[in-house]
């Protein structure tokens, strides 16, 4: 169908997409901002085009520039990667209206799942369990809101309907805090996401973050590719992910996975996607669906042997899935560390020039990075500079490989989160497995106290 793909992203994921395109013999067009002219994937692409200055608003976030660039270069398809416009329904629609292929789900699916309230409704209708919460948006009227909140029960969490990815949320522990919290969250939501609609859910005190990876083609087939445990988070940002989720019965995961695949078929979902859940006391609760490729997709690739990006491209070309659910046989255990150019304890961004880069390697070690010698990490974009992913026959083997790889890795010139992740690989709770989503923040707080006392 299409033979040329425009990569509408940057950094490590743009390189990932380029590699997948090349394995399929597809021509690649790398569009980039002025600050990214030296990126590795730009050097490797068949054609490159600078589309604007460094600020994302005038480059990677500008739908018109991206579509125009596709038309100027003859690209017939656009891969949005993750972040930027990957979950922007209007962009997906504009791409389609321009006669191009958007490598991802239809705009309608993105819209439906982007609105967290409608996503929950769709999931409930498909029999996917959700966090108990308000049916629809929280009423603006304070008295009505209080009634809804009481029915849901405290503690609860107020979430922006147009939010997601950990943004636009506030915990409310008692009824007297509700009015102020709702008002504040609405204001923030309006400013950040353009909609003041909020909804409420029970706040779970010690849940784990467990997500299901799905793939669906345009012929009605949908499969689930196992789960990922992404509980090691700081301020809702994932730092470490793994598959499978330690200690969760396989039958429970299989039942959940099948529900997600079934939901995909029902809503006519096409492409790669991830259903995110909270898992507590043996129960799963749907929180949101990401209608795009995710940062941590290599974790699933390493245990299943499936190339998710290649599958995205094939699905976008109208091909049927090349394998059935029975052929998905996860083996072993994979762990990923997101290496960010940040201070390991303060998390302040650390842009600058990487004076030394020695990635680790060896059996079961995979590095996804755009870093090259003398690369300057720009201040305009997110701080992810590499993903270190390992796979082993068992979780212990994966942990051992990760420790060795983190010790071996050298990055000089910028600060990275590596020292933190290396310490976590020896943390008793993490090593045991099953830590909840608050563990890392508690661990950091305790560590901070310990340092002050020392």
């Amino acid at each position: 169908m299409f033979d040329t793909v425009l990569i509408a992203n940057r950094g490590e994921i743009a390189l990932r997409i380029l590699r997948a395109c090349r394995t399929l013999g597809l021509r690649t067009v790398a569009v980039h901002s002025e600050a990214d002219a030296g990126l590795r994937h730009v050097a490797l692409a068949d054609q490159r085009l600078c589309i604007g200055p460094a600020p994302a608003a005038k480059s990677y976030l500008d739908p018109a520039r991206l579509i125009l660039a596709a038309q100027l270069t003859g690209a017939q398809a656009i891969h949005p990667g993750y972040g930027f416009l990957s979950e922007n329904a209007r962009f997906a629609q504009a791409v389609s209206d321009a006669g191009l292929v958007f490598i991802g789900p239809r705009a309608e699916s993105i819209r439906r799942m982007g609105d967290k309230i409608s996503a929950k409704r769709a999931m409930l209708a498909s029999g996917v369990p959700c966090v108990p919460g308000s049916d629809g948006a929280l009423p603006v009227d304070a008295a009505a809101a209080r009634l809804v909140a009481e029915a849901v029960g405290y503690p609860l969490i107020i979430k922006a309907a147009a939010g997601g990815g950990g943004r636009g949320m506030r915990v409310v522990r008692a009824a007297q805090e509700l009015d102020a919290a709702a008002a504040l969250t609405r204001e923030e939501a309006l400013r950040a996401f353009g909609s003041a609609d909020v909804y409420v859910e029970r706040y779970l005190e010690h849940p784990r973050h467990v997500e299901i990876q799905v793939l669906a083609d345009s012929h009605g087939h949908a499969v689930w590719l196992g789960e990922r445990d992404c509980s090691m988070q700081r301020r809702h940002q994932k730092l470490i992910e793994e598959s499978p989720a330690p200690g969760i019965p396989r039958e429970a995961i299989a039942a959940l996975g099948e529900r997600c695949a079934s939901a995909c078929r029902e809503i006519g979902y096409v492409g790669a996607g991830t259903f995110e859940f909270l898992y507590q006391d043996g129960q799963f609760f749907f929180i949101e669906m990401n209608t795009r490729l995710q940062v941590e997709h290599p974790v699933t690739e390493l245990v299943t042997g499936i190339d998710i990006v290649v599958e995205q491209l094939r699905i976008a070309q109208g091909q049927a899935l090349s394998f059935t659910q029975d052929e998905v046989q996860p083996r072993g255990h994979a762990i990923e560390c997101r290496i960010n150019a940040e201070h390991p304890w303060r998390f302040t961004p650390s842009p600058g020039t990487v004076t030394r880069w020695m990635p680790p390697a060896g059996p079961g070690v995979r590095v996804e990075s755009h870093l090259v010698a003398d690369y300057t990490v720009p201040p305009h974009y997110d701080s992810l500079i590499a993903k270190l992913v390992v796979v082993g026959g068992t979780r212990n083997e994966a942990l051992a490989r990760m420790r060795v790889a983190l010790d071996e890795m050298e990055v000089e010139g910028v600060q990275t989160t590596t020292p933190l992740q290396r310490e976590l690989m020896d943390d008793a709770a993490f090593v045991e497995g099953g830590a909840d989503i608050h563990h890392l923040e508690r661990w950091l707080a305790a560590r901070g106290e310990g340092r002050k006392a020392a």
Partner: protein, 139 residues
């Protein structure tokens, strides 16, 4: 980056106030540092320091590059044919149209950012150029 004309105005203003030292930090870590001779010495207020004047213009023989204001297909002539193309050797003034960019149905003018002479064409006529790509060498 600060425009030469703006720098000129800034220097004149500072000299008029008898400022001897001026430091300014701009975006992306750019630092502008100006040092002036003490009042009563050298030039009267309003005059531009010769060294500064020289620094604002490229050294003799060194060429400046005119960069593309956007991505698009470079056209030396206007698609409707109503504008004569700029040729190497030709003198142009700041703001003068020297080429066009075609972006689908849109045609954008490419204007010179200074008074200069076109030394050479860097990007070929009809080529697809990106934002910031070098188009012309100017003297």
């Amino acid at each position: 980056m600060i425009e030469a004309a703006d720098l000129q105005r800034l220097v004149q203003r500072l000299q008029a106030e008898n400022v001897t030292s001026f430091d300014c930090e701009g975006p992306q870590g750019l630092l502008l540092r100006l040092r002036f001779a003490p009042p009563g010495a050298a030039d009267p207020p309003g005059a531009i320091d010769e060294r500064l004047q020289a620094a604002m213009q490229p050294a003799n023989g060194a060429a400046a590059v005119l960069k593309s204001p956007a991505m698009g297909q470079l056209c030396s002539e206007h698609p409707l044919g109503a504008w004569p193309p700029a040729e190497p050797g030709q003198a142009v003034t700041a703001g003068q149209v020297v080429a066009f960019l075609r972006l689908g149905e849109l045609v954008l003018p490419v204007t010179s950012d200074r008074d200069a002479a076109i030394a050479a064409r860097i990007a070929a006529d009809g080529a697809l150029v990106g934002y910031g790509d070098a188009l012309f060498e100017l003297n």
